[in-house]
């Protein structure tokens, strides 16, 4: 086999952002997997609904709204600093500003995680009360794991931005981490609607 050089890759850049980066695809596929999982959970929720005359089931109070609504607001607001972080990362700008904003997002994440513990109480049921309690707790719990994972990841990159050294690929990681953060926050808007709002109408 005689090989004929036809393209020189040496001049190509070391990294690409957005859908040019493999890690962006890895993250997108992960969100598809988890999105499919959330969809299955919601389908299960509505399937179980048909086994009860009233929803929530008799002798179960409607889920309380204040803390869950506050938490969904916190998650949505946390998108803003994260979005700004991603914008800065695209320009490879100001590692310390990026790090600071990432740590701010970590604070949002920790607050959301703490409020989640109170949300378990706000649904006025337990996982072992009946099938309603089982599915509601499952949705709360599985999304809880997402908040923890996204917060931890953000913490790691936030610290890195201060201690360095920083490579170009870390800026790619920041933008991909931001996409995952949006996913965790926005998927909760849908799940919050199902768990806390819909029982008032079903």
């Amino acid at each position: 086999m005689k090989r004929r050089p036809a393209f020189d890759a040496a001049a190509l850049p070391d990294q690409g952002f957005s859908h040019h980066a493999p890690i962006w695809w890895g993250n997108t596929l992960m969100m598809m997997i988890e999105g499919a999982g959330f969809a299955i959970l919601v389908a299960t929720y509505f399937y179980i609904r048909h086994n009860f005359d009233t929803w929530p089931p008799a002798r179960t109070e409607l889920p309380a709204l204040p803390i869950p609504t506050l938490n969904v607001a916190i998650l949505v607001v946390s998108i803003l600093p994260m979005w700004y972080v991603a914008k800065l990362a695209l320009k490879h700008d100001k590692p310390r500003t990026i790090g600071g904003l990432l740590l701010l997002c970590v604070v949002f994440g920790v607050v959301a995680a703490v409020l989640r513990i109170f949300e378990f109480k706000a649904v006025h049921t337990r996982w072992d009360t009946n099938a309603y309690g089982s599915i509601v707790w499952s949705i709360l719990g599985i999304h809880f794991a997402h908040i923890l994972a996204a917060t931890l990841e953000t913490l790691i990159i936030g610290i890195l931005m201060f201690v360095g050294p920083i490579e170009e690929k870390h800026y790619v990681d920041i933008t991909v981490n931001a996409v995952y953060w949006y996913f965790v926050a926005l998927s909760w808007v849908a799940l919050y609607t199902v768990i806390f709002l819909l029982p008032r109408f079903l």
Binding site: P5, A10, D14, G37, A131, L152
Partner: protein, 655 residues
């Protein structure tokens, strides 16, 4: 700092040299070997992130499980060979058929189809490794732990015994106390994680790492089939993750998902399971169809007839595969209209499958077929799969299905489609790609014996089961009375199983002998057209000395003979690959693959250990989550290469 580049050469046409000299090639080879070689020894083996060594383990492990599942099948056939046999008792028999089904579906079929993809796809698309090498290693270790868990439990008389689809309420806490079903549910967790990881690897690798010029309409059909299978995995497996999690929770922490007394629902399990379970069948079938296309192309010496129709058929099969799950539930009280829809969808799947079969026939008709063993297995596939498809059309009709539901007719049907549809193409693929994996050809003579014994054995074993089912013999019974008149056909079926065992022995013998003394194959023993044949056999750890450039669908046939246009200028001092665009595969940027590490194994042991602890106490989940986060912290802790590039202000700017 200065980097070690493989032959930088300017892109201006005037400066291009005609060919790379032998000496230059040798120099690049030495440098690539230095940076890619993982060394030998146990530690190197445990830390390897090479897609080929991981996929090879996957294949060998899956074949070991296939053998174990086959031994279980043989034991069942001995038990059923005559009425009122007492070779195994009812309890052990329940465990055997459950472990047999679970092994074949979760530990053999899906893993082996992904494993062949993880081995061949990167070589076929001309890249050096899968996109996320460490994650890939994690997937294998999780799969291995899951399989070992099932068999350790089985050999200590704790094997699951509620069937491979573990229907509630039988599999629920009330009717299956003890740990048998929990073992099953956690084995599922392991294999799902491994399956999803493999899917992410394959899609990302194919989307972003194809050789320059390999636009979407030039991707080999086998690679297409692996991508489509991976998308099916991504949408189907979450259902079984949720379902087996809910079952384990019902059994362990008293949730009520499947408990009708507290608003749960037994049919919910069937919906969730089959929403995964039916696509699963296509997850197994679709890569097999891709293997057939590769084999047919090579052994008819022409490119496939109707390439766009083939790709679209694969995609529509995948879509339709998601709308068939209820045909496993025709015997449940679902609304008539809904059942009719699923009947229609089940029948509709014959259209894309038919298109493919006709395209292969047209290819063979207009080509020059060479009847090698691999090609014989393809022909065996057509015959068996058409037979299985015919019984499939029969049971897609609800009145008929109600008659034969849970009888041996169904057993005959799905063994014809699974063995005919998946195992035959897979064996063809073994004969086809074995030289690429080992550098040696399998013996064609033993291969013909292997094929004919297998073909005869499968028909002898499973064809009588159609009649047994029509005579009313239910599946999953450990014995039957002589007055039923099922004895003779069962004996024929058991004799068929002996023939299958004989063919398996021929295959193993062929592999062992050929590994030692088989004919050396050279780079391209079949005169095939795709990129995996443009590199030595077995492929070096970096796959291709230079990333090839593709000008057509069959590059090795359309290039001037013996010539290969290639990419130069990738760095040789680190694991570097080329990232190309999704649609047209135009070069975008260079990419560093992660280096070998022990972390995937540690994570699998910690995460896997805690999943096993969770069988006994819910604290397993908590401990596991903490350990997993800790290890992930190490995993994701950014590594700085000693020769790292300082960030440029503008990523597109040239240095």
């Amino acid at each position: 700092m200065a980097h070690a580049y493989a032959l930088p050469s300017p892109n201006e046409p005037d400066d291009r040299r005609r060919f790379i000299s032998e000496a230059e090639e040798q120099d690049v080879r030495t440098r690539l070997e230095q940076s890619w070689e993982e060394g030998s020894g146990l530690y190197a083996w445990l830390t390897s992130t090479s897609h080929k060594s991981i996929a090879k383990r996957y294949i060998v492990t899956a074949l070991v499980f296939f053998a174990l599942g086959g031994i279980e099948a043989a034991v069942m056939r001995v038990q059923l060979s005559r009425p009122e046999n007492h070779f195994v008792g009812p309890d052990l028999y329940n465990q055997i058929f459950t472990v047999h089904g679970s092994t074949m579906m979760f530990l053999f079929a899906v893993p082996v189809m992904e494993a062949i993809g993880l081995y061949m796809v990167p070589i076929m698309i001309g890249t050096r490794n899968v996109a996320f090498p460490r994650l890939n290693a994690l997937g294998y270790w999780m799969y291995l732990i899951g399989g070992v868990l099932l068999y350790v439990a089985f050999f200590s008389n704790t094997g699951p015994d509620a069937g491979w689809f573990a229907y509630v309420p039988l599999a629920g806490p009330a009717y299956s106390p003890g740990k048998r079903i929990d073992i099953w549910a956690q084995m599922i967790t392991f294999t799902e994680i491994a399956g999803l990881i493999g899917a992410v690897e394959i899609i990302t690798t194919v989307f972003k790492q194809r050789a320059p010029g390999m636009s979407l309409n030039r991707i080999p059909l086998f690679v297409w089939s692996e991508v489509i299978m991976s998308f099916m995995i991504i949408f189907a497996l979450p259902a079984i993750v949720i379902a087996s999690g809910a079952l384990a929770a019902d059994r362990l922490v008293d949730t009520h998902f499947f408990n009708p007394a507290e608003g749960g629902d037994a049919l919910l399990w069937q919906h969730l399971f089959w929403f995964f379970g039916h696509p699963e069948v296509y997850i197994i079938l679709i890569p097999a169809l891709g293997m057939i296309s590769s084999i047919v192309t090579t052994f008819t010496r022409r490119s496939i007839f109707g390439y766009p129709a083939m790709v679209l058929s694969l995609i529509s099969t995948a879509f339709l595969g998601f709308s068939l799950w209820v045909h496993h539930m025709f015997a449940t009280p679902l609304p008539q209209l809904g059942q009719s829809l699923f009947t229609a969808a089940s029948a509709a799947i014959a259209i894309p499958t038919g298109i493919q079969i006709f395209c292969w026939m047209a290819t063979i008709w207009s080509g020059r077929p060479r009847y090698t063993t691999a090609f014989m297995f393809v022909i065996g596939f057509v015959l068996l799969f058409v037979l299985g498809g015919l019984s499939g059309v029969m049971i897609s009709s609800i009145p008929y299905d109600l008659q034969v539901h849970d009888t041996f007719f169904v057993v005959a049907h799905f063994h014809y489609v699974l063995i005919g549809g998946a195992v035959f193409p897979l064996w063809g693929a073994f004969y086809y790609w074995f030289p690429k994996m080992t550098g040696r050809l399998l013996s064609e003579r033993a291969g013909k014996w292997n094929f004919w014994l297998f073909f005869a054995g499968v028909n002898l074993t499973f064809f009588p089961m159609h009649f047994l089912g029509l005579m009313g013999m239910p599946r999953r019974v450990y014995t039957y009375l002589p007055e039923m008149g099922w004895g003779n056909l069962n004996l024929v079926s058991s004799i068929g199983a002996v023939v299958i065992v004989a063919s398996a022995i021929v295959f193993v013998g062929n592999v062992v002998v050929s590994l030692r003394g088989g004919t050396p194959s050279g780079d391209n023993p079949w005169g095939a057209s795709t990129l995996e044949w443009a590199t030595p056999s077995p492929a070096p750890i970096y796959n291709h000395l230079f990333i090839p450039i593709v000008n057509g669908r069959e590059p090795l046939w359309t290039n001037p003979p013996g010539e290969l246009p290639v990419v130069t200028g990738l760095r040789t001092d680190r694991h570097e690959g080329l990232i190309t665009s999704l649609m047209d595969a135009e070069p975008e940027h260079r990419y560093e693959f992660k280096q070998p590490t022990i972390l995937p194994l540690i994570l699998a042991l910690a995460g896997g250990g805690s999943i096993i602890v969770a069988i006994f106490t819910p604290w397993g989940v908590t401990i596991g989550a903490a350990l997993t986060l800790l290890i992930l912290f190490c995993w994701f802790w950014p590594t700085i290469s000693p020769d790292h590039d300082t960030p440029r202000r503008h990523p597109r700017e040239m240095p």
